[in-house]
């Protein structure tokens, strides 16, 4: 009897791993890795809050994208089937610098106008908006001499003065002018 008691001195810890496994599996299953990434948009102030200022834009400076209620695209008055083609077209429009008389005069005057219909699906709108933003990010990234992905990281972290300098330099003279009209 006394001999047996001496052997049982330590607590049996072999099942500790099992308990830890159980907890681990619980956390593995319930974990959703929080993602805090998305497409950014800055809305203009409410139309009632400021007086209407009539600003005239030359027709050729505006790159018009229309989406109808059945998600069909009309880009510069021509039908288009694949929203991915918009990226290249926007880049050509913005960086035209007067070369093509139908496109923008200079990058700072170029405007991308995006108009959807009330019946347009959110999916299509995001696809088009993504390409418009992507075109600008591509332009900025190229000017800054970095990849598009790196550019987006720089633009998301402007607290760093180094990033801020790169950011301002790349954006100089080329404002991101994406205008989203209210759908009709």
């Amino acid at each position: 009897m006394a001999k047996g008691r001496r052997e049982m001195r330590g607590i049996d810890s072999s099942s500790m791993a099992d308990i830890a496994f159980l907890l681990l599996i619980f956390f593995l299953v319930t974990t959703t890795i929080a993602n805090d990434k998305g497409l950014t948009l800055k809305l203009p102030p409410h139309p009632d809050d400021k007086e209407d200022i009539e600003i005239k834009f030359k027709e050729k400076n505006i790159f018009k994208i229309l989406i109808n209620s059945s998600d069909k695209l009309l880009v510069e008055n021509e039908g288009l089937d694949d929203p991915k083609k918009i990226r290249q077209m926007v880049k050509e429009h913005v960086l035209n610098r007067g070369a093509n008389p139908n496109l923008s005069e200079s990058p700072d005057k170029a405007i991308v106008s995006l108009k959807a219909n009330r019946g347009t699906s959110y999916k299509m709108f995001i696809a088009v908006y993504n390409e418009c933003q992507g075109a600008y990010y591509d332009i900025y990234a190229e000017r800054a001499g970095v990849t598009n992905k790196r550019w987006r990281e720089i633009a998301s972290d402007l607290g760093n003065p180094e990033n801020k300098a790169i950011y301002l330099k790349a954006r100089e003279g080329i404002p991101m002018a994406i205008s989203i009209a209210e759908p009709n």
């Binding site: 681990l24 890795i33 800055k42 347009t120 998301s156």
Partner: protein, 153 residues
């Protein structure tokens, strides 16, 4: 010639004493990274795809707006609805909701409030733009569309 088949006296078992430690290490990692979902989402959430994602700068300034077809269509119908926190709200209530969210922030940060749209891809732009118009009225101008990232090519 010595015998090669010598019976080893050492035990053949792998020591498992360090196993709990390893498991605990993993466990702590997951415990720390886990964020428990604060509220149940009652609308369908299938995000649209996009590539040009940017990271949010400050998470504390973000308020979430869920939009989509209700999961319980028998009770709530199949028209897309707006959900905030735990309740469904109408488009007209968005301004009130924004001002409530702004009250939670400190005074100098109120203009920087970011509204995150977590909308289902089948929601129509009519609803989205109605909400955006209300946000403009409420002076919450920073918007972020939550999307599903697809690989850049």
């Amino acid at each position: 010639m010595a015998k090669f088949t010598k019976k080893s006296k050492t035990s053949q078992e792998i020591p498992t004493a360090a196993l709990p430690d390893i498991i605990f290490m993993l466990l702590f990692f997951f415990m720390v990274t886990t964020v428990m979902r604060e509220n149940t989402i009652n609308v369908k959430q299938k995000m649209p795809d996009a590539t040009e994602l940017r990271k949010l700068q400050r998470k504390s300034l973000v308020s979430y707006l869920y939009m989509g077809e209700p999961k319980n269509t028998v009770l709530y119908g199949d028209e897309p609805k707006i959900q905030t926190n735990d309740v469904f709200i109408e488009v007209k209530d968005v301004i009130l909701w924004v001002s409530k969210e702004k009250d939670k922030l400190s005074e100098n940060e109120r203009d920087q409030i970011t509204i995150a749209f977590k909308a289902d891809e089948d929601v129509k732009m009519g609803l989205i733009s109605d909400v955006q118009l209300k946000l403009r009225k409420a002076n919450a101008l920073k918007v972020m569309f939550y999307v599903r990232q697809i690989a850049d090519i």
